[in-house]
Symmetry: D2
Subunit: 361 residues, 4 copies
Amino acid sequence: MSGNTFGKLFTVTTFGESHGPALGAIVDGCPPGLELSEADLQQDLDRRRPGSSRHTTQRQEPDQVRILSGVFEGRTTGATIGLLIENTDQRSKDYSKIKDQFRPAHADYTYHHKYGLRDYRGGGRSSARETAMRVAAGAIAKKYLAALGVQIRGYMSQLGPLAIEFKQWQSVEENAFFCPDPDRVPELEAYMDQLRRDQDSVGAEITVIAEGVPVGLGEPVFDRLDADLAHGLMSINAVKGVEIGAGFASVSQRGTEHRDEMTPDGFLSNHAGGVLGGISSGQPVVARLALKPTSSITTPGRSIDIHGQPVEVVTKGRHDPCVGIRATPIAEAMMALTLMDHWLRHRAQNADVRVDTPRLR
Amino acid sequence: MSGNTFGKLFTVTTFGESHGPALGAIVDGCPPGLELSEADLQQDLDRRRPGSSRHTTQRQEPDQVRILSGVFEGRTTGATIGLLIENTDQRSKDYSKIKDQFRPAHADYTYHHKYGLRDYRGGGRSSARETAMRVAAGAIAKKYLAALGVQIRGYMSQLGPLAIEFKQWQSVEENAFFCPDPDRVPELEAYMDQLRRDQDSVGAEITVIAEGVPVGLGEPVFDRLDADLAHGLMSINAVKGVEIGAGFASVSQRGTEHRDEMTPDGFLSNHAGGVLGGISSGQPVVARLALKPTSSITTPGRSIDIHGQPVEVVTKGRHDPCVGIRATPIAEAMMALTLMDHWLRHRAQNADVRVDTPRLR
Amino acid sequence: MSGNTFGKLFTVTTFGESHGPALGAIVDGCPPGLELSEADLQQDLDRRRPGSSRHTTQRQEPDQVRILSGVFEGRTTGATIGLLIENTDQRSKDYSKIKDQFRPAHADYTYHHKYGLRDYRGGGRSSARETAMRVAAGAIAKKYLAALGVQIRGYMSQLGPLAIEFKQWQSVEENAFFCPDPDRVPELEAYMDQLRRDQDSVGAEITVIAEGVPVGLGEPVFDRLDADLAHGLMSINAVKGVEIGAGFASVSQRGTEHRDEMTPDGFLSNHAGGVLGGISSGQPVVARLALKPTSSITTPGRSIDIHGQPVEVVTKGRHDPCVGIRATPIAEAMMALTLMDHWLRHRAQNADVRVDTPRLR
Amino acid sequence: MSGNTFGKLFTVTTFGESHGPALGAIVDGCPPGLELSEADLQQDLDRRRPGSSRHTTQRQEPDQVRILSGVFEGRTTGATIGLLIENTDQRSKDYSKIKDQFRPAHADYTYHHKYGLRDYRGGGRSSARETAMRVAAGAIAKKYLAALGVQIRGYMSQLGPLAIEFKQWQSVEENAFFCPDPDRVPELEAYMDQLRRDQDSVGAEITVIAEGVPVGLGEPVFDRLDADLAHGLMSINAVKGVEIGAGFASVSQRGTEHRDEMTPDGFLSNHAGGVLGGISSGQPVVARLALKPTSSITTPGRSIDIHGQPVEVVTKGRHDPCVGIRATPIAEAMMALTLMDHWLRHRAQNADVRVDTPRLR
C-alpha cells in the first residue's frame, strides 16, 4: 500500500484534496447488521466542521456526507461502505505566486521533491481537510463499539502555554475549544483573540480516552495496541508527539510508583494508560497528543522557491490559528478506528478462548 | 497478520520466547547484492547483549546469530534471510508460584485473558528478550542505508530524574549507559547503584537520530514517516511515549518560533525533526522515546492470582533495573527498519521522478 | 482486509452494489506524472458496457466515470485517485418474491448465511456490475504500462462448444464477441440467438496476453506472477478455471516437449506462458480463463427459500446469456493490475540490480 | 511484502534454499489452545519426503521438523510458531558448469535477470524443496480445521496421459503415487519405469477436496475463497493451471446443466466445486491443479549461458521425473492454509451473525 489505508481488518482508505471536487473513503470489514445512517456520521463531522466559531478557519463547508454503498434497509451488509463529501467552498484565487514557493513548515518542499509536482491549491492532499473522512469513518467504528460498551471521548488539555485540568465531560461539547472546564473558556478566548492580533499561531495538546474497552485488544509484538494507536494519532496532521498513560512522565518514575497494583476490587492506579504488554487491560485507554502551531500565518517568513532562490512568504487565505482546536474529533476517530480494528483482529484469533479468571477494572 | 511482522516491503517477522530453545526472524524484501555476514549483525547484538555490566540483567547470553538463508557467497540474493539465536542461559527454576500470579505492570494479566494460557517462564513472548531479533534485523537495514549515506545513532538523554545533554558521539560507545557526556557517567553509576540498594527500578529517555536521510521518504496520509516511526518505537517493550522533533514542546510554541525557515543555505532550525507532511525533509530525523521503569522488582507489590484472590508479589530472577539502559540499539534498529521500509516504498512509486530544484540540508 | 482491495503496492479498493446509487474505487500507489484523463478510462469502460448489442443485458448504463482526486493539471500527483460511476438504470421493481428465495448457482445462499442479510436488488455486491470499477482502474495500469512497451489484449477463444482459433487482433474490436476471427462471427451470432430462444445460457473461455513484459516481474515464493494472476483472474465473477501457458495440456506433456529451449535468438517456444519460477521471462504472458454459464435464466429451476422450503425459481430481469461476452476487458484489467503491482514491487526491491547478460524474447 | 508470506490472518512466512543449512517458517495467527506436537507435522512431511520410492528423487532427507516457539506444555499459546528443518543431504559437487548456464524451463534465467546473482546450488530458493515448509505449516491448519469437522484430502487424478478415476481414499495412502485406484498402480509404475529409461519427465494432475467446510468462508470481491485458493495452488512449483468444480468443462456447459439446484435435502450436484459468489457453500470444495513435467532431465537441451552464447544443457543430479507424484500433500497444505486463513477472516467480521435458515450439504 502507498499509505492511504488505515487498519488491517477494519480498513479505511481515503482520497481527496483540499480544493478538489470531493473527499471520499471506503470502509472495508464493517460487521454486517449494524444500524447505520448518514446522521450517525454527521454528528462528529459537525463537531470537526470548519467555520463554526471565530477561532477556526472561516472556510464554510457543510461537510454533508453521503453513504453510497454497504448499507441496505438501514443496516450494514458487510460490503464496503463508500462515503462521499463534496467540497463546496474551495475558492478560486490566483495561485501564481504560491505555486513556485515552499511555505516554511508545510509539506510543499517535501511533496515537490517526492512527487515532482504538487497540487498547490490549499495544500492539496496534505491539507487537514483530509481528516474529515477519518471522522466520518471513525463514527462507524464509534457506533459499533458503543454497542459493546466502549465510549471514546477527548478534550483539549492544553492550549499553547495554558494547561487545562479535566473537570467535566459536559463542558467539552459546550464550547469551541473542547475545553473540559467551563471556567477556563473566557481565558482561552482571550488568548486566541490576542493570537490573531499577533498574526501568529500556537500548539495544543489533546487527551483522548476510551472507557469500557475489554481486556485483550492488541497483538504482540509489533502491532501492540499502543503502537497502532501511536501510528494512528501521529498520522494526524501537525501531531508531533504521542503518550500513553504516564507517557514521558514515566521516565522519572520509579517502578514502585509506576506499577499499577491490583486488588480483587480493581487496579489501584492507571499509569499504564490501559495497556499492558501491548494489550488492553480493561482500564481506560488514555492517550495524549501534541499538535504543533499551524504554519499558515501572515507574519512573513524566509523561504526559497523551486529555483532555490530566497523568497519572503506570507500565507494568506483562511486558516486555523490553532489546528488543535478542531483536533479532538479527529483524535477520537483514530482511537475508534484503532480499537475497532483490534476488536476484529482479536476475535479472529481468540474467539475460542474461555477464561474463568475474574476481570478487573 | 497477528502482529509479529514489521514493515510492508522490507519486513521482519519474529518468533521466540524468553525461555524457549531459540529466537528467530525472517527478513523479506532485502535488495540483492548487499554484502552481508553474521559479523555485521553481531556488532549491534553485542551492544544490546545482557550481562555486560553490573547495571543490567546478569543473564549470560552470547546472542550468537546465524544466517540460515538468503546470503550466497557473501551477498544477499533477494531471498528471505532466516536468522536464528539459540537461548543458552534460560535457567530452570521453580515456576509453581509465578504461574498462577499476575505480576503488577507485566503482561501476565492481559496475556492470560487474551490467550487463555501463557508461557510464564520469564515472561514468554512478552519478554524484552524478543528485541534481540529486532536488533539483528535492524543491522541489515542499517548496513544497506549506510551505503546510501544514512547514519543512525542513539543515546540516553535522561536516566530517571537525570537529564543528559548531548556532548559527543564518541562517548556513547564508551560506557554502559550510551551516555553522550563522559563527565556524567559517574553520576549515572552512583544513581544505579543506589537504585539497586533501594530494590527499585527507574525509567529513561532515549534519543535516536538519523542523519543523511534523503528528502522524500514517507507515504501520506496514514503511513507518514513519523507515524510509522511512532508505531515502531512504541512497539518496543516499556515505551510509553514518542516524540518527533520539538514533540510536546511544540504545544506551547508559536508558529513564528516553530516553523523552520529555509534559505538557499539550508533550514535555519529543525523543530520538525526532519519530517514535513509525513515526508522526510533531508534534515536529521530526530525521535525521542520514553521508557517506563521495569516492573520486575523485589519490593513486594499487591496483586491477584488467577482465581481473583489477593497476593503479594515479589519478582525474583535476573532483571534490568532500568530497561532503558539497553534500549538504544533497539531504538536504532526500529528507526533503521522504518527508514529502510520507506526507502523501498518510496522508490516503488516514485522511481520515475526527476526534480531540478536544489535540495537543502 | 476484508477482500475489497486488489494489489499490494498499486492497490484498487472498490465499493458499490448493482442497484445502489453509485460504484466507486480508490486507486493507491499510482506513480506521479502520468498523463491521465477520464477519456483514458472511458474507452475500456465502453468496451465492457452493457446494452451495446442484443447478445448482452439490455440494462442501459452510460458508465460515465469521474476522476475525483489524484490528478492535477492533467497528470497524476501520486495521491489516491478517486473514481465514481453513478448508476442510472437500476429499475425499481417488486422484489418481494426474490428476497426470500435463493436463486440456484447465485451468491444468494452464501451471502445470506455469511452476512445474515443481503441486498437482494440485482445481486447487490455480488453482481458483475462491480467489475466496471476493475476496468476503470485497470485502464490506469494499462496506460502506465503502455508507456513501458507493455501491451495487454484479450479475446474470446471459446463460446460454449465453439472453439475459436486466433486469427487477428483487428477483428477483436469489430464485433460484439471480442472474436479474433471475423469469419466465425455469424456462427457465434446464430448460436447466441438460438440460446436465447432456448431460454438458456452458456460458458466461454477468454485468452488474455501481455506482450512486451520485461524479464523480472513476480515475487517468489508465494506471490509469483502466475499465482497473483490466478488470484486476479479467478476473482472475476463466474470464472472457474485459470491456465498459464500450456496449462492443463502440460499434464500430458513430456519434459522434452514442454521445456522452452533458448538460443541466442530467443526462446523456441512458450509453453511456460511467459513465466519461469514465478517471474516473467520476457516472453508474452499468456493466460486463459473459463467462465461458467450465467445462472440467471428463465428456465425454471428447483431451489429453497430462507425457511428451507422448496420453491421453483425463474430469474427474470435483464441478464447476460453469456457473461463471457463482456469479460475480455475485465480479464485485461486484472492482467494489467497484476503486472502494474508487480512492476512496482519489482523495482522496490531490485532497482539497484545491473545485469550485463543479454535479454531474450 | 516481497512474496514469502501466505495468508492475511493465519500467515506463513518461509525461508531456505535447496542446498543451504536449513529451511524454516514462522506461522502467525494460530489460535491459542490447540494441542500441537512435532509428530502432528511430521506425518505430512513424511508423505512429501523425497527418496521414499524409486519414482522420486533419491536425495535422502529425513525432514525432521522442530517447533522452536509458540507451543507451551503441548498447546499453542497464540504466539508465533517457529519451525525449522535442517538440510542433511545437500551434496557438495562441482557447480562450475551450471553456474554460468541457464537450464531451459528453470528459474535460472529469470532469477539471474531479476536479482543479478543467484544461488545456483540445486536451484536455491526456486527449488521445490521450499515446499516442505508449506507442508509443515499446512499440518497446523489441518489439525485446527479437523477439530471443526473439515477434512482435506488429495489424490493424483492423472499421470501424463493416464487419467485416473477416483475409487477409494484408502488406496491413496498405500502407493507411491497417491493413486485412488489400487488396480491402476502397476500401470503407473510401468509408465514411470519407461519414462526414466527414456530420460524424460512428465506432467500430472492432482485433485484436492475439502469436506465439511461450513458455509460462509471467502471474502468478496477480490479475496474470494476460490481466488485465494487459485493463488495458493498456482504458487506451488510447476503448477500451470487451477480449476474449481467443473472448471474448464463449464465453458461448454449450459446454465440449465451447470447450476446446482437445491432442495431441502441438499444440493443436487456440485459443478460449483463448493464455492458460490466466492464464498463456501457447505458442499465439498473441489480443486484440480495441473503440474508441468519437471525440466531437470538428462536429455540434452539447447540453451544459452550468461554471456548469451549457445550451450547444450544436461541436468544431472537427483531429480523427480514427475514432480506431481509428491505434490498431493503440498496441494492439501495450500488448501488447508487457505481455508484456515478464511476461517479467521470470516469470524473477524461475521462473528455476530445469527441465521435461522437451515444449512444444506
